[in-house]
Subunit: 307 residues, 2 copies
């Protein structure tokens, strides 16, 4: 059998069972060292797969750091340290410089320290980040409780619309289009949610593969039924405008669009914090599976191995 | 300017200065979390560059873990946790299985726990390891003192001879040849040296690029002169036999051969531990540079970007 027949999640599941990696399955691994609970995670961006050669290199660096930091936040952690492995073809030094500038700027923004790394010659450009965070309480995917509200931060689907706009290679982009493109190129990990997640969330993860795909993992690991409503999905004005112009369904973007790096989490509805841009999109119930307006929801996210 | 014009070490030096990464330059980064001193490191193996398609996949997994663990030990750390990013083409599942088996076996051997990872589709097979260790006292490259003895663990040059033997693609290998090949395919990180390094070493690193190259970094960062003697370099019987058969200079293998994952460290000669296979190869003196039998020694190691 080939890896592509299993797909990304099938492969992880296979390796988990085959090698007894019970802990694997959250955005980060939680380990105790001394009296500290540490979160460890890694995230990779490869040219041609996660970004295009035409992207500003500083954006690629920014995005890589954001993806890694987002995982730490999703599990209730404060990001502390980062290491980066650069896979480098024989490119212009300027390109590496820009990439590193994006990395260091993002590190400053997130208050994270870049403490080390590695450069390796490679045919394709790539960056692999390792992140270390500190938490008071680990919040994984499996802790949702019956009666919890299901929440997301920010708006969904913007990054996918931004990617489509980039691929159109238009000569001129309007303001709302540039904002969508920016959300694809330089997503912001939700550091403003760290305290909220670590204090109140029963289950949490970041939305990197698309809501319809990621929420399945949370429902499965929590062993409960996740019921969400389409009309509750938070959409940006920019996405609505984009969908209108191109005759698309904006909800489809919110459901399948990945790389928004928003958070998906559950807790009692009473824990809503009005100062955060969170939206309740549904409720955790007895049972299993994910339901959208009462009908089973299929994962529409991106599987790197199958596609 | 292109990356190849700078070379691997030139690039690291450039990035260090350009982005004020003062701490970068040891095998690991040392950070304090709570009351614990943690060591963080990453190591990458790429197909075609660090291993060949024909290698047993379990050996590749073993070697990747060993390289990462070796960095932690070199700085006085006890290896604790590992994460692994798999860069995977659409290969047979069997191949991934064997790779993972090598990884988990090595983890068991070194008493390290594999707590997480990542799979990413890629054109070339690769593995990137992230290691976390705990130390009582960080031992870097820069701490050598005048009067210290310069020591190495084990024997040097075996891995390079093993690589050459593999590339010969012989039908039949003799026993001593198989042992050299084994040292290339499945090097053992020196976990037996953890206590010795963390207690007594003033400076320490692992020899992954070749003694003549790695020792330059230690001399430079310590700001002292490293004088070593050729005849003191520890050679295995297998390497001596190999050199004799092929009319080669075994000392050249010991000086330029990388991937032995032996340790290079300094401390007062009185600290020699007769129960460890350590050899004093020279002395730390006032001055600068590295001298072999009184003559300046050039780095003959492998630069991934220049070659």
């Amino acid at each position: 059998m080939k890896v592509s027949q299993l797909g990304e999640f099938g492969l992880i599941e296979y390796l988990k069972n085959r090698f007894y990696l019970e802990e694997v399955g959250d955005d980060t691994a939680c380990v105790k060292v001394g009296d500290s609970l540490l979160l460890l995670t890694c995230d990779t961006l490869l040219e041609g797969r996660h970004f295009l050669d035409s992207y500003p290199m500083s954006a690629v660096g920014w995005k890589g750091v954001s993806a890694c930091v987002s995982d730490l936040i999703a599990n209730g952690g404060k990001p502390l340290y980062l290491l980066v492995t650069l896979l480098l073809p024989d490119v212009e030094l300027k390109k590496v410089d820009e990439l590193y500038e994006g990395i260091t700027r993002a590190c400053e923004f997130y208050g994270v320290k870049l403490v080390g790394g590695n450069v390796v010659k490679s045919e394709r450009l790539g960056i692999d980040f390792f992140g270390v965070g500190l938490t008071e309480r680990f919040v994984g995917r499996g802790g949702a409780k019956v009666g919890d509200g299901i929440f997301v931060s920010g708006t969904l689907g913007d990054s996918l619309a931004g990617l489509e706009l980039i691929l159109m290679e238009k000569r001129h982009y309007e303001d709302f289009e540039l904002r969508l493109i920016e959300r694809h190129l330089r997503p912001t990990a939700r550091i403003d949610y760290i305290a909220h997640i670590s204090k109140y969330a029963n289950a949490s993860m970041d939305i990197s593969d698309g809501l319809s795909s990621d929420i399945q993992h949370m429902a499965k690991r929590s062993g409960l039924r996740f019921s969400i409503q389409k009309e509750k999905l938070p959409l940006s004005r920019e996405l609505l405008e984009y969908a209108k112009r191109h005759g698309k369904d904006p909800y489809s973007y919110a459901l399948r669009g990945g790389e928004d790096y928003q958070l998906l989490f559950t807790h009692p509805p009473s824990r809503i914090n009005p100062f955060l841009d969170m939206t309740q999109i549904g409720t955790v119930e007895e049972g299993e599976g994910v339901f959208l307006d009462g009908a089973p929801l299929e994962a529409q996210g991106f599987d790197h191995f199958k596609s």
